[in-house]
Protein backbone atom coordinates (compact mmCIF):
# COMPACT_ATOMS: atom_id res chain seq x y z
CA UNK A 1 0.00 0.00 0.00
CA UNK A 2 2.98 2.30 0.24
CA UNK A 3 5.71 3.38 -2.12
CA UNK A 4 9.16 1.96 -1.62
CA UNK A 5 10.25 3.99 1.41
CA UNK A 6 8.57 3.36 4.75
CA UNK A 7 7.03 6.31 6.57
CA UNK A 8 9.58 6.09 9.38
CA UNK A 9 12.84 4.27 9.34
CA UNK A 10 15.54 4.03 11.97
CA UNK A 11 18.91 3.05 10.64
CA UNK A 12 21.25 1.74 13.33
CA UNK A 13 20.39 4.49 15.81
CA UNK A 14 22.48 4.61 18.97
CA UNK A 15 22.08 6.95 21.89
CA UNK A 16 24.14 7.04 25.04
CA UNK A 17 24.11 9.28 28.09
CA UNK A 18 27.63 8.85 29.40
CA UNK A 19 27.85 5.14 30.08
CA UNK A 20 24.12 4.54 29.99
CA UNK A 21 23.08 3.14 26.64
CA UNK A 22 19.46 3.94 25.84
CA UNK A 23 19.53 2.86 22.19
CA UNK A 24 21.99 0.34 20.83
CA UNK A 25 22.07 0.30 17.04
CA UNK A 26 18.30 0.19 16.66
CA UNK A 27 16.80 -0.33 13.23
CA UNK A 28 13.09 -0.17 12.60
CA UNK A 29 10.65 0.48 9.78
CA UNK A 30 7.09 1.70 10.27
CA UNK A 31 4.77 1.91 7.29
CA UNK A 32 2.06 4.50 6.82
CA UNK A 33 -1.02 3.41 8.72
CA UNK A 34 0.81 0.93 10.95
CA UNK A 35 -0.03 0.72 14.62
CA UNK A 36 2.90 -0.37 16.71
CA UNK A 37 2.89 -0.89 20.44
CA UNK A 38 6.06 -0.66 22.43
CA UNK A 39 6.60 -2.19 25.85
CA UNK A 40 9.61 -2.57 28.06
CA UNK A 41 10.70 -2.10 31.63
CA UNK A 42 11.28 1.36 33.05
CA UNK A 43 14.58 2.74 31.87
CA UNK A 44 14.50 0.59 28.73
CA UNK A 45 14.90 3.67 26.55
CA UNK A 46 11.38 4.00 25.19
CA UNK A 47 10.94 7.71 25.88
CA UNK A 48 14.49 8.42 24.73
CA UNK A 49 13.79 6.61 21.49
CA UNK A 50 10.73 8.82 20.99
CA UNK A 51 12.88 11.86 21.62
CA UNK A 52 15.41 10.71 19.06
CA UNK A 53 12.61 10.27 16.51
CA UNK A 54 10.86 13.55 17.36
CA UNK A 55 14.12 15.53 17.36
CA UNK A 56 14.27 16.41 21.06
CA UNK A 57 17.46 14.36 21.26
CA UNK A 58 20.15 13.75 18.65
CA UNK A 59 21.41 10.20 18.30
CA UNK A 60 25.12 9.59 18.73
CA UNK A 61 25.15 7.54 15.54
CA UNK A 62 22.62 6.37 12.99
CA UNK A 63 19.93 8.06 10.97
CA UNK A 64 16.23 8.77 11.36
CA UNK A 65 14.46 8.73 8.00
CA UNK A 66 11.01 9.99 7.14
CA UNK A 67 9.68 8.91 3.73
CA UNK A 68 13.19 7.69 2.98
CA UNK A 69 14.72 11.07 3.64
CA UNK A 70 17.15 11.61 6.51
CA UNK A 71 15.72 14.03 9.08
CA UNK A 72 18.39 13.40 11.71
CA UNK A 73 19.74 16.92 11.42
CA UNK A 74 16.37 18.66 11.42
CA UNK A 75 15.12 20.11 14.68
CA UNK A 76 11.92 19.00 16.36
CA UNK A 77 9.78 21.77 14.87
CA UNK A 78 10.82 20.93 11.31
CA UNK A 79 10.11 17.24 11.94
CA UNK A 80 6.75 18.17 13.39
CA UNK A 81 5.88 20.06 10.23
CA UNK A 82 6.93 17.01 8.19
CA UNK A 83 4.37 14.94 10.08
CA UNK A 84 5.84 13.59 13.30
CA UNK A 85 3.66 14.23 16.33
CA UNK A 86 4.29 13.11 19.88
CA UNK A 87 3.01 13.33 23.40
CA UNK A 88 5.11 13.43 26.55
CA UNK A 89 4.78 10.88 29.31
CA UNK A 90 4.58 13.65 31.88
CA UNK A 91 2.21 16.16 30.25
CA UNK A 92 3.95 19.33 29.16
CA UNK A 93 1.10 21.68 28.41
CA UNK A 94 1.67 25.40 28.06
CA UNK A 95 0.42 26.07 31.57
CA UNK A 96 -0.22 29.78 31.27
CA UNK A 97 -2.29 29.43 28.13
CA UNK A 98 -5.83 28.19 27.76
CA UNK A 99 -6.56 24.71 26.49
CA UNK A 100 -7.81 26.27 23.26
CA UNK A 101 -4.60 28.25 22.79
CA UNK A 102 -2.46 25.20 23.56
CA UNK A 103 -4.07 23.37 20.67
CA UNK A 104 -4.27 26.43 18.43
CA UNK A 105 -0.50 26.97 18.53
CA UNK A 106 -0.03 23.43 17.26
CA UNK A 107 -2.67 23.88 14.55
CA UNK A 108 -1.03 27.08 13.33
CA UNK A 109 2.56 26.03 13.27
CA UNK A 110 2.50 22.26 13.37
CA UNK A 111 -0.20 21.81 10.75
CA UNK A 112 0.74 25.07 9.01
CA UNK A 113 -2.82 26.34 8.80
CA UNK A 114 -4.08 29.90 8.36
CA UNK A 115 -6.08 31.55 11.13
CA UNK A 116 -9.59 30.35 10.20
CA UNK A 117 -8.62 26.80 9.31
CA UNK A 118 -6.48 26.51 12.44
CA UNK A 119 -9.44 27.48 14.60
CA UNK A 120 -11.68 24.94 12.88
CA UNK A 121 -9.11 22.20 13.36
CA UNK A 122 -8.69 23.22 17.01
CA UNK A 123 -12.41 22.97 17.66
CA UNK A 124 -12.58 19.60 15.89
CA UNK A 125 -9.66 18.22 17.90
CA UNK A 126 -11.10 19.50 21.18
CA UNK A 127 -14.39 17.80 20.35
CA UNK A 128 -12.66 14.57 19.45
CA UNK A 129 -10.64 14.46 22.67
CA UNK A 130 -13.52 15.58 24.87
CA UNK A 131 -11.79 18.78 25.92
CA UNK A 132 -14.29 21.27 24.55
CA UNK A 133 -15.87 22.06 27.93
CA UNK A 134 -12.41 23.01 29.20
CA UNK A 135 -11.43 25.07 26.16
CA UNK A 136 -11.09 28.33 28.05
CA UNK A 137 -9.42 27.05 31.19
CA UNK A 138 -5.72 27.69 31.70
CA UNK A 139 -3.88 24.43 31.18
CA UNK A 140 -2.28 24.54 34.62
CA UNK A 141 -5.70 24.19 36.25
CA UNK A 142 -6.39 20.88 34.55
CA UNK A 143 -6.37 17.52 36.30
CA UNK A 144 -4.25 14.61 35.13
CA UNK A 145 -6.84 13.11 32.77
CA UNK A 146 -7.44 16.43 31.07
CA UNK A 147 -3.74 17.14 30.77
CA UNK A 148 -3.20 13.74 29.18
CA UNK A 149 -6.00 14.52 26.77
CA UNK A 150 -4.45 17.88 26.04
CA UNK A 151 -1.15 16.19 25.19
CA UNK A 152 -3.01 14.05 22.69
CA UNK A 153 -5.03 17.01 21.37
CA UNK A 154 -1.95 19.12 20.82
CA UNK A 155 -0.23 16.31 18.97
CA UNK A 156 -3.32 15.68 16.82
CA UNK A 157 -3.58 19.37 15.95
CA UNK A 158 -0.19 19.21 14.25
CA UNK A 159 -1.88 16.80 11.79
CA UNK A 160 0.72 14.09 12.19
CA UNK A 161 1.23 11.22 9.78
CA UNK A 162 3.11 9.45 12.55
CA UNK A 163 1.77 9.84 16.07
CA UNK A 164 3.95 8.76 18.97
CA UNK A 165 2.09 8.26 22.23
CA UNK A 166 4.13 8.04 25.41
CA UNK A 167 2.07 6.39 28.16
CA UNK A 168 -1.08 8.37 27.54
CA UNK A 169 -3.09 5.78 29.46
CA UNK A 170 -0.91 5.59 32.56
CA UNK A 171 -2.74 6.64 35.69
CA UNK A 172 -6.18 6.61 34.08
CA UNK A 173 -9.15 4.55 35.22
CA UNK A 174 -10.52 1.78 33.03
CA UNK A 175 -13.42 3.78 31.59
CA UNK A 176 -11.01 6.61 30.85
CA UNK A 177 -8.64 4.20 29.13
CA UNK A 178 -11.49 2.81 27.03
CA UNK A 179 -12.50 6.27 25.94
CA UNK A 180 -8.91 7.09 25.02
CA UNK A 181 -8.55 3.86 23.07
CA UNK A 182 -11.63 4.87 21.10
CA UNK A 183 -10.03 8.19 20.16
CA UNK A 184 -6.77 6.56 19.13
CA UNK A 185 -8.62 3.89 17.17
CA UNK A 186 -10.40 6.64 15.23
CA UNK A 187 -7.12 8.43 14.55
CA UNK A 188 -5.65 5.19 13.28
CA UNK A 189 -8.58 4.64 10.96
CA UNK A 190 -7.77 7.95 9.30
CA UNK A 191 -4.49 6.40 8.17
CA UNK A 192 -2.24 7.93 10.81
CA UNK A 193 0.57 5.61 11.83
CA UNK A 194 0.83 5.16 15.60
CA UNK A 195 3.70 4.11 17.83
CA UNK A 196 2.40 3.70 21.32
CA UNK A 197 4.50 3.14 24.41
CA UNK A 198 2.35 1.90 27.26
CA UNK A 199 2.64 -0.07 30.44
CA UNK A 200 -1.11 -0.63 30.42
CA UNK A 201 -0.86 -3.42 27.88
CA UNK A 202 -4.60 -4.05 27.76
CA UNK A 203 -5.00 -0.57 26.33
CA UNK A 204 -2.55 -1.40 23.56
CA UNK A 205 -3.99 -4.64 22.30
CA UNK A 206 -7.24 -3.10 21.13
CA UNK A 207 -5.32 -0.86 18.76
CA UNK A 208 -1.95 -2.22 17.72
CA UNK A 209 -1.22 -5.08 15.38
CA UNK A 210 2.47 -5.17 16.07
CA UNK A 211 4.27 -5.12 19.39
CA UNK A 212 7.91 -4.41 20.08
CA UNK A 213 9.66 -5.03 23.36
CA UNK A 214 12.56 -2.74 24.16
CA UNK A 215 14.98 -3.52 26.96
CA UNK A 216 18.41 -2.17 27.70
CA UNK A 217 18.37 -0.11 24.52
CA UNK A 218 17.69 -3.14 22.25
CA UNK A 219 14.63 -4.56 20.58
CA UNK A 220 14.37 -7.97 22.15
CA UNK A 221 11.17 -8.99 20.43
CA UNK A 222 9.08 -7.74 17.53
CA UNK A 223 5.94 -9.37 16.18
CA UNK A 224 2.22 -9.72 16.79
CA UNK A 225 1.20 -8.90 20.36
CA UNK A 226 0.53 -12.60 21.07
CA UNK A 227 3.97 -13.64 19.85
CA UNK A 228 5.81 -10.95 21.71
CA UNK A 229 4.03 -11.46 25.01
CA UNK A 230 4.62 -15.20 24.77
CA UNK A 231 8.30 -14.80 23.99
CA UNK A 232 10.60 -16.18 26.69
CA UNK A 233 12.99 -13.24 26.30
CA UNK A 234 10.19 -10.78 27.00
CA UNK A 235 8.91 -12.76 29.96
CA UNK A 236 12.40 -12.89 31.39
CA UNK A 237 12.90 -9.16 31.07
CA UNK A 238 9.67 -8.41 32.83
CA UNK A 239 10.20 -11.00 35.53
CA UNK A 240 13.80 -9.97 35.96
CA UNK A 241 13.21 -6.28 36.41
CA UNK A 242 9.70 -5.82 37.60
CA UNK A 243 9.19 -9.01 39.57
CA UNK A 244 5.84 -10.05 38.29
CA UNK A 245 4.62 -7.06 36.32
CA UNK A 246 4.50 -9.39 33.36
CA UNK A 247 1.89 -8.76 30.69
CA UNK A 248 0.23 -12.15 30.28
CA UNK A 249 -0.43 -13.74 26.97
CA UNK A 250 -4.13 -14.10 26.56
CA UNK A 251 -4.88 -11.04 28.66
CA UNK A 252 -7.21 -9.88 25.92
CA UNK A 253 -9.65 -12.66 26.64
CA UNK A 254 -9.24 -12.49 30.38
CA UNK A 255 -9.68 -8.79 30.52
CA UNK A 256 -8.17 -6.84 33.30
CA UNK A 257 -5.09 -8.82 34.24
CA UNK A 258 -2.81 -6.75 32.04
CA UNK A 259 0.66 -5.90 33.14
CA UNK A 260 1.16 -2.71 34.96
CA UNK A 261 4.56 -2.91 36.60
CA UNK A 262 4.59 -1.88 40.24
CA UNK A 263 6.82 1.11 39.56
CA UNK A 264 4.10 2.55 37.35
CA UNK A 265 4.09 6.27 36.88
CA UNK A 266 7.79 6.61 37.30
CA UNK A 267 9.88 7.90 34.47
CA UNK A 268 10.75 5.25 31.94
CA UNK A 269 14.06 6.71 30.89
Amino acid sequence: MTPAAPLLELDRVSKRFGRVVVAESLSLAVQAGDAVGMVGPNGAGKSSLFSVISGDLSPNTGEVLLDGRAVTRLDASARCRLGIGRTYQVPRSFGHMTVFENVLVAAHRGAGLAAGAARELTVAVLDETGLRPDANRPALRLGLLQRKRLELARALATRPRLLMLDEVAAGLTDPEVRQLVGVIQAVRERGVAVIWVEHVVRALVGVVDRLICLAGGRFISDGTPEEVLASPAVREVFLGTDSGGLPRAGFAEHGEQGGRPPSDGDSSS
Binding site: S54, G55, D56, D75, A76, S77, A78, C80, R81, G85, R86, Y88, R92, S93, F94, G95, H96, M97, E101, N102, L104, V105, A106, H108, R109, G110, A111, G112, A115, R154, A155, A157, T158
Partner: protein, 288 residues
Protein backbone atom coordinates in the same frame (compact mmCIF):
# COMPACT_ATOMS: atom_id res chain seq x y z
CA UNK B 1 2.66 71.05 46.69
CA UNK B 2 6.34 70.29 46.24
CA UNK B 3 5.57 66.73 47.34
CA UNK B 4 2.76 66.41 44.83
CA UNK B 5 5.13 67.68 42.18
CA UNK B 6 7.69 65.08 43.22
CA UNK B 7 5.09 62.32 42.92
CA UNK B 8 4.00 63.48 39.47
CA UNK B 9 7.57 63.81 38.21
CA UNK B 10 8.36 60.43 39.74
CA UNK B 11 5.47 58.78 37.91
CA UNK B 12 6.63 60.30 34.64
CA UNK B 13 10.22 59.22 35.27
CA UNK B 14 8.81 55.78 36.04
CA UNK B 15 7.59 55.62 32.44
CA UNK B 16 11.19 55.90 31.29
CA UNK B 17 12.24 53.16 33.70
CA UNK B 18 9.41 50.94 32.53
CA UNK B 19 10.47 51.50 28.93
CA UNK B 20 13.96 50.41 29.91
CA UNK B 21 12.71 47.46 31.84
CA UNK B 22 10.20 45.92 29.46
CA UNK B 23 12.86 44.60 27.09
CA UNK B 24 14.74 43.07 30.00
CA UNK B 25 11.52 41.59 31.33
CA UNK B 26 10.56 40.15 27.95
CA UNK B 27 13.93 38.50 27.34
CA UNK B 28 13.97 37.03 30.80
CA UNK B 29 10.33 35.95 30.62
CA UNK B 30 10.69 34.22 27.27
CA UNK B 31 14.15 32.70 27.28
CA UNK B 32 15.42 33.10 30.85
CA UNK B 33 18.23 35.30 29.62
CA UNK B 34 19.38 38.24 31.70
CA UNK B 35 20.89 40.59 29.20
CA UNK B 36 23.65 42.36 31.11
CA UNK B 37 24.39 44.47 28.03
CA UNK B 38 20.83 45.87 28.09
CA UNK B 39 21.82 49.31 29.36
CA UNK B 40 24.78 49.55 27.00
CA UNK B 41 22.58 48.82 24.02
CA UNK B 42 20.34 51.66 25.20
CA UNK B 43 23.31 54.02 25.29
CA UNK B 44 24.36 52.81 21.85
CA UNK B 45 20.85 53.66 20.63
CA UNK B 46 21.28 57.16 22.06
CA UNK B 47 24.55 57.60 20.15
CA UNK B 48 22.95 56.32 16.97
CA UNK B 49 20.07 58.73 17.57
CA UNK B 50 22.58 61.53 17.95
CA UNK B 51 24.20 60.57 14.63
CA UNK B 52 20.82 60.45 12.89
CA UNK B 53 19.64 63.75 14.40
CA UNK B 54 22.80 65.69 13.61
CA UNK B 55 23.52 63.90 10.34
CA UNK B 56 20.08 64.10 8.80
CA UNK B 57 18.88 67.20 10.65
CA UNK B 58 15.72 65.52 11.82
CA UNK B 59 14.03 66.00 15.19
CA UNK B 60 14.42 63.46 18.00
CA UNK B 61 10.99 61.91 17.49
CA UNK B 62 11.75 61.13 13.85
CA UNK B 63 15.03 59.50 14.75
CA UNK B 64 13.11 56.74 16.54
CA UNK B 65 11.76 55.65 13.15
CA UNK B 66 15.29 54.87 12.03
CA UNK B 67 16.86 53.63 15.25
CA UNK B 68 14.11 51.35 16.58
CA UNK B 69 13.75 49.20 13.41
CA UNK B 70 17.52 49.02 13.09
CA UNK B 71 17.73 47.82 16.66
CA UNK B 72 15.07 45.21 16.02
CA UNK B 73 17.30 43.76 13.30
CA UNK B 74 20.33 44.01 15.57
CA UNK B 75 18.37 42.24 18.32
CA UNK B 76 17.36 39.39 16.04
CA UNK B 77 20.97 38.93 14.90
CA UNK B 78 22.47 39.21 18.39
CA UNK B 79 20.02 36.57 19.57
CA UNK B 80 20.55 34.15 16.70
CA UNK B 81 24.30 34.59 16.39
CA UNK B 82 25.45 35.16 19.96
CA UNK B 83 22.93 34.58 22.73
CA UNK B 84 21.34 31.44 21.23
CA UNK B 85 24.69 29.68 21.07
CA UNK B 86 25.45 30.43 24.68
CA UNK B 87 21.91 29.48 25.70
CA UNK B 88 22.50 26.03 24.25
CA UNK B 89 25.59 25.67 26.43
CA UNK B 90 24.12 26.72 29.77
CA UNK B 91 22.14 29.54 31.39
CA UNK B 92 25.28 30.74 33.15
CA UNK B 93 27.03 31.12 29.83
CA UNK B 94 24.44 33.67 28.73
CA UNK B 95 25.37 35.81 31.73
CA UNK B 96 29.06 35.64 30.83
CA UNK B 97 28.39 36.33 27.18
CA UNK B 98 26.11 39.31 27.76
CA UNK B 99 28.56 40.64 30.33
CA UNK B 100 31.26 40.32 27.69
CA UNK B 101 29.03 42.12 25.20
CA UNK B 102 28.57 44.90 27.73
CA UNK B 103 32.33 45.36 28.16
CA UNK B 104 32.92 45.30 24.41
CA UNK B 105 30.13 47.81 23.75
CA UNK B 106 31.30 50.22 26.44
CA UNK B 107 34.85 50.19 25.13
CA UNK B 108 33.81 50.42 21.51
CA UNK B 109 31.66 53.45 22.34
CA UNK B 110 34.53 54.97 24.27
CA UNK B 111 36.74 54.51 21.21
CA UNK B 112 34.12 55.77 18.81
CA UNK B 113 32.48 58.61 20.69
CA UNK B 114 35.09 59.57 23.35
CA UNK B 115 34.37 59.81 27.05
CA UNK B 116 32.67 63.19 26.71
CA UNK B 117 29.05 63.25 27.61
CA UNK B 118 26.44 64.15 25.03
CA UNK B 119 22.77 64.77 25.06
CA UNK B 120 20.17 64.56 22.36
CA UNK B 121 18.89 67.91 21.11
CA UNK B 122 15.21 67.55 21.82
CA UNK B 123 14.30 71.03 20.59
CA UNK B 124 10.93 72.42 21.61
CA UNK B 125 10.10 69.20 23.45
CA UNK B 126 12.66 69.85 26.15
CA UNK B 127 11.49 73.35 26.87
CA UNK B 128 7.71 72.96 26.60
CA UNK B 129 5.57 72.11 29.54
CA UNK B 130 2.01 72.28 30.82
CA UNK B 131 2.00 74.48 33.88
CA UNK B 132 -0.85 73.22 36.03
CA UNK B 133 -0.14 75.31 39.12
CA UNK B 134 2.84 77.54 39.91
CA UNK B 135 4.66 74.60 41.47
CA UNK B 136 3.37 71.79 39.30
CA UNK B 137 4.25 71.53 35.68
CA UNK B 138 4.47 68.59 33.36
CA UNK B 139 7.15 68.61 30.70
CA UNK B 140 6.05 67.73 27.20
CA UNK B 141 8.96 65.40 26.76
CA UNK B 142 8.46 63.41 29.94
CA UNK B 143 4.75 63.14 29.15
CA UNK B 144 5.55 61.77 25.68
CA UNK B 145 8.00 59.27 27.15
CA UNK B 146 5.45 58.11 29.71
CA UNK B 147 2.79 57.77 27.02
CA UNK B 148 5.25 55.86 24.85
CA UNK B 149 5.95 53.46 27.71
CA UNK B 150 2.23 52.83 28.24
CA UNK B 151 1.61 52.39 24.52
CA UNK B 152 4.56 50.00 24.18
CA UNK B 153 3.46 47.89 27.13
CA UNK B 154 -0.20 47.79 26.12
CA UNK B 155 0.66 46.85 22.53
CA UNK B 156 3.13 44.25 23.64
CA UNK B 157 0.53 42.76 25.95
CA UNK B 158 -2.05 42.71 23.15
CA UNK B 159 0.46 41.23 20.75
CA UNK B 160 1.37 38.46 23.18
CA UNK B 161 -2.20 37.58 24.01
CA UNK B 162 -3.85 37.93 20.60
CA UNK B 163 -1.35 37.55 17.78
CA UNK B 164 -0.34 34.23 16.35
CA UNK B 165 3.35 34.97 16.83
CA UNK B 166 2.62 36.30 20.32
CA UNK B 167 0.98 33.01 21.22
CA UNK B 168 4.04 31.16 19.98
CA UNK B 169 6.20 33.38 22.14
CA UNK B 170 4.10 32.51 25.19
CA UNK B 171 4.12 28.81 24.36
CA UNK B 172 7.90 28.92 24.00
CA UNK B 173 8.21 30.80 27.28
CA UNK B 174 6.20 28.07 29.01
CA UNK B 175 8.08 25.10 27.56
CA UNK B 176 10.42 25.55 24.62
CA UNK B 177 10.82 21.87 23.92
CA UNK B 178 7.08 21.25 23.90
CA UNK B 179 6.59 24.30 21.67
CA UNK B 180 9.09 22.78 19.30
CA UNK B 181 7.26 19.47 19.00
CA UNK B 182 4.10 21.48 18.32
CA UNK B 183 5.84 22.94 15.27
CA UNK B 184 7.20 26.21 16.65
CA UNK B 185 10.66 27.17 15.44
CA UNK B 186 12.00 28.10 18.84
CA UNK B 187 15.16 29.83 17.63
CA UNK B 188 13.16 32.07 15.34
CA UNK B 189 10.69 32.85 18.11
CA UNK B 190 13.54 33.75 20.45
CA UNK B 191 14.93 35.96 17.69
CA UNK B 192 11.59 37.74 17.34
CA UNK B 193 11.35 38.24 21.10
CA UNK B 194 14.87 39.71 21.08
CA UNK B 195 13.97 41.95 18.14
CA UNK B 196 11.01 43.35 20.08
CA UNK B 197 13.10 43.74 23.23
CA UNK B 198 15.83 45.58 21.34
CA UNK B 199 13.36 47.90 19.62
CA UNK B 200 12.06 48.88 23.06
CA UNK B 201 15.65 49.31 24.28
CA UNK B 202 16.22 51.70 21.39
CA UNK B 203 13.17 53.75 22.39
CA UNK B 204 14.35 53.76 25.98
CA UNK B 205 17.86 54.84 24.97
CA UNK B 206 16.54 57.70 22.85
CA UNK B 207 14.20 58.81 25.61
CA UNK B 208 17.06 58.66 28.09
CA UNK B 209 19.26 60.73 25.75
CA UNK B 210 16.51 63.33 25.52
CA UNK B 211 16.14 63.42 29.30
CA UNK B 212 19.72 63.74 30.37
CA UNK B 213 23.30 63.57 29.17
CA UNK B 214 24.91 60.25 28.50
CA UNK B 215 28.41 58.87 28.09
CA UNK B 216 29.71 55.41 27.10
CA UNK B 217 29.61 54.19 30.70
CA UNK B 218 26.04 55.28 31.41
CA UNK B 219 24.55 51.90 30.55
CA UNK B 220 25.40 50.19 33.81
CA UNK B 221 23.23 52.43 35.92
CA UNK B 222 20.40 52.11 33.38
CA UNK B 223 20.67 48.35 33.69
CA UNK B 224 20.40 48.56 37.46
CA UNK B 225 17.29 50.75 37.30
CA UNK B 226 15.74 48.42 34.73
CA UNK B 227 16.50 45.44 36.96
CA UNK B 228 14.96 47.14 39.94
CA UNK B 229 11.82 48.01 37.98
CA UNK B 230 11.47 44.40 36.79
CA UNK B 231 12.00 42.93 40.26
CA UNK B 232 9.74 45.42 42.02
CA UNK B 233 6.96 44.80 39.50
CA UNK B 234 7.34 41.03 39.32
CA UNK B 235 9.43 39.08 36.88
CA UNK B 236 7.77 38.28 33.60
CA UNK B 237 4.74 40.49 34.07
CA UNK B 238 4.58 43.48 31.73
CA UNK B 239 1.98 45.33 33.79
CA UNK B 240 4.19 44.66 36.78
CA UNK B 241 7.11 46.19 34.91
CA UNK B 242 5.15 49.38 34.31
CA UNK B 243 4.15 49.48 37.95
CA UNK B 244 7.72 48.69 39.03
CA UNK B 245 9.06 51.54 36.92
CA UNK B 246 6.55 53.94 38.44
CA UNK B 247 7.27 52.79 42.01
CA UNK B 248 10.99 53.22 41.41
CA UNK B 249 10.53 56.64 39.80
CA UNK B 250 8.28 57.89 42.61
CA UNK B 251 10.65 56.55 45.28
CA UNK B 252 13.57 58.34 43.68
CA UNK B 253 11.64 61.58 43.27
CA UNK B 254 10.37 61.53 46.86
CA UNK B 255 13.85 60.63 48.11
CA UNK B 256 15.31 63.54 46.18
CA UNK B 257 12.67 65.76 47.75
CA UNK B 258 13.98 64.82 51.18
CA UNK B 259 17.56 65.45 50.19
CA UNK B 260 18.88 65.96 46.69
CA UNK B 261 21.48 63.24 47.18
CA UNK B 262 19.03 60.71 48.57
CA UNK B 263 16.98 60.03 45.42
CA UNK B 264 18.82 57.08 43.90
CA UNK B 265 19.43 55.54 47.30
CA UNK B 266 15.72 55.77 48.14
CA UNK B 267 15.00 53.80 44.97
CA UNK B 268 17.48 51.11 45.98
CA UNK B 269 15.96 50.92 49.47
CA UNK B 270 12.45 50.42 48.11
CA UNK B 271 13.84 47.75 45.80
CA UNK B 272 15.44 45.98 48.76
CA UNK B 273 12.25 46.27 50.78
CA UNK B 274 10.22 44.68 47.97
CA UNK B 275 12.80 41.90 47.66
CA UNK B 276 12.56 41.25 51.38
CA UNK B 277 8.79 41.49 51.76
CA UNK B 278 7.44 40.37 48.39
CA UNK B 279 10.31 38.62 46.63
CA UNK B 280 8.09 37.70 43.70
CA UNK B 281 7.27 41.36 43.06
CA UNK B 282 4.12 43.42 43.32
CA UNK B 283 2.36 41.85 40.34
CA UNK B 284 4.03 38.49 39.87
CA UNK B 285 3.21 36.66 36.70
CA UNK B 286 4.53 35.17 33.59
CA UNK B 287 4.48 36.53 30.09
CA UNK B 288 0.76 36.14 29.55
Amino acid sequence: MAWLNAVVQGILLGGLYALFACGLSLLFGVMRVVNLAHGDFAVLAAYLGLAVITGLHVPLLWSTLAVAPLFAVVGYLVQRLIIQRSLEVSPLTTLLVTFGLSVVLQNAMLEGFSANSHSLPSGWLAAGSFRLTPQLSIGHFSLIVFAAAVVVIVSLQLFLSRARLGRQIRATADDAEAASIAGTDVRHVFGIAAAIAFATVALAGLAFGGYSSFDPGAGTQRLIFAFEAVVIGGVGSLWGTLLGGVVLGVSQALGAQVDSGFGVLAGHLVFLAVLAIRPRGLLPGRVT
